[in-house]
Amino acid sequence: MLSAPLSPPLMHIPDGFLSILVSVVLWIATIGIVAVSLQRVNRDLGERQVPLMGVLAAAIFAGQMLNFPVAGGTSGHLLGAALATILLGPYAAVLVMACVIGVQGLLFQDGGLLAMGANIFNMGIVGVVVTHFLYRTLRNLGSGKRWTIFVGGFASAWLGVVTASLITALELAISGTTAANIAIPAMGGVHVLIGFGEALITVGALAFLYFTRPDLLKIGEAKPAGRAVWLAGLVIALAIAVASPLASSFPDGLEWVAEQQGFLNNAHNAPYQIIPDYVFPGIGNAALATIVAGVIGTLVVGGVAFALAYARRNRSVVSN
């Protein structure tokens, strides 16, 4: 019935797609930023933080199941980084998003473990910093008027999603697992659309909270952001400046790519023609190694299977 996906089809990178260097660098960056955030949240929120962060992370996780139909069988989803940032301020939002992405990876394999640093960085930190940067700027420009909440929420949610997707594509390209000139415009293109869904839902959520609990919209504004956030914002802005000319030239998306690729496969049978000609890629010296490995592998698996069967028979004998 309500077969909701565990998370929206976004940019959770699985293991195997990032080079070890990129993974480790982003893990280190993420750990540093999360540590700073923990410290700041501890100071600002005090003893309420644990329950509040925990439950809000669960709420964001659950909120990602809410969707609404858009044209053509696709649907709009929530990612939540913008909402978390606007409601909680950047530091608490980083923590909440880190928890959400961490649990998605650890429990549901939605994103890898080695790649988790990168995923938290892209969807959590980049999303949060961009949102915060733009939202605060728009709020200040409109001198804090009511409508700036919604305009700021819309714009920053959209930009947060698009930026995060561009950064994701960039990392994949640097890792050598995709081609920059295709992936960046493709990811950017589809997230330009996904970003609208995010933005609309974010504004809806802000409107709801504005009506019901306007006091909640003030928590995130209580503390002015430190220099670190602005610096991070600047770095990310630069990255966008580099990536966006590429993005605008090719308005397609990951899902588009998916469909087209399926179409290509069917039309040309491309991958299936490769195998007969070349038996297996890397034939030669490596072939022998592969055969040996295959034999060893079979022995290992067979050994374990045998040992298990034996152990189980013993157990059942004992229990009888």
């Binding site: 962060m53 809410l66 429990l107 994949l172 295709i182 990811m187 839902i201 959520a205 790519v257 690729q261």
Partner: protein
């Protein structure tokens, strides 16, 4: 309504279930790091990795079918690597044109794509085994064991506890919306409202969830305070990891290192 499907843990008594969660977590990470570090096209090493993960699956008594089925969830991302076929220079395989573009596929590109897909596939399997054989409280213990700050572990623990409550809530909100999404066609109206209105309604539901999150957060804080909570997260010290498991883990990491070394030597 109760959401059981969220909990990937499968109760059991297999060898893998009984291992210390910290050992499992470190082993899984070591395995995934090894897979990531292997050069493209090191098929012999890949086969060994596959054998290792299949053995672990067998030993976990989860059923290989279960793991393989779940592992498919991660496959759509492979599409991100598909352009490699056409962008990595090397031996020409075939070309075709689509509209104004001409695509040229290379053998090296295909090899790289398959390598990435394979590494990702085995890594995801190992992660599935970890999540399916380790209850979440034990995973939390493992997280503490590898040095994640207690505060963060406490937050994640609470989050996990309330995921069930709030996902249930989200599903009920979706159900309420579906129940009132009714219309009679003969009136000949445009049914369903505008996209913006739909999105606003969905946003309202998201806001609703968040507000409940806030209010529940307050009530939980009250419940914790009522039992003496003062902001510091306290817990029992962790139990020791059994010596044999230490050795097992050490041996496994040594094996991974060997596989890495040889495949780097052979394939380059």
């Amino acid at each position: 309504m109760h959401v059981h499907f969220l909990d990937p843990f499968h109760n059991g008594t297999s060898l893998i279930h009984r291992l210390d969660p910290r050992v499992k977590l470190v082993f899984t990470l070591a395995y995934i790091v090894t897979a990531s570090l292997l050069p493209f096209g090191a098929w012999a090493a890949y086969v060994l990795l596959l054998a290792i993960v299949l053995s672990v699956e067998l030993a976990s008594e989860l059923g290989i079918g279960y793991v393989l089925r779940r592992a498919l969830l991660a496959t759509p991302f492979v599409l991100a690597a598909v352009p490699l076929i056409f962008t990595v220079p090397g031996t020409l395989l075939f070309t075709f044109s689509l509209g104004a573009w001409t695509f040229t596929a290379s053998l090296e590109g295909v090899e790289r794509l398959l390598s990435i897909a394979f590494k990702s596939w085995v890594s995801v399997q190992m992660a599935i085994v970890l999540a399916a054989t380790t209850s979440f409280p034990n995973l939390l213990m493992a997280m503490r064991g590898i040095g994640i700050p207690r505060l963060l572990v406490a937050i994640v623990g609470l989050m996990w506890r309330y995921i069930f409550v709030l996902v249930d809530q989200a599903l009920r909100l979706l159900r309420a919306r579906a129940a009132r999404s009714g219309a009679t066609p003969e009136m000949g109206r445009r049914v369903g409202g505008s996209i913006v209105w739909r999105a606003q309604t969905t946003g309202g539901m998201a806001g609703n969830l968040l507000m409940r999150g806030f209010e529940r957060g307050d009530r939980i804080y009250a419940a914790m305070a009522a039992r003496g909570y003062d902001g510091e997260v306290r817990a029992f010290p962790l139990p020791q990891v059994p010596l044999t498991q230490w050795f097992g883990l050490g041996a496994a990491i040594f094996l991974f290192a060997l596989i890495l070394l040889f495949s780097i030597l052979i394939v380059g």
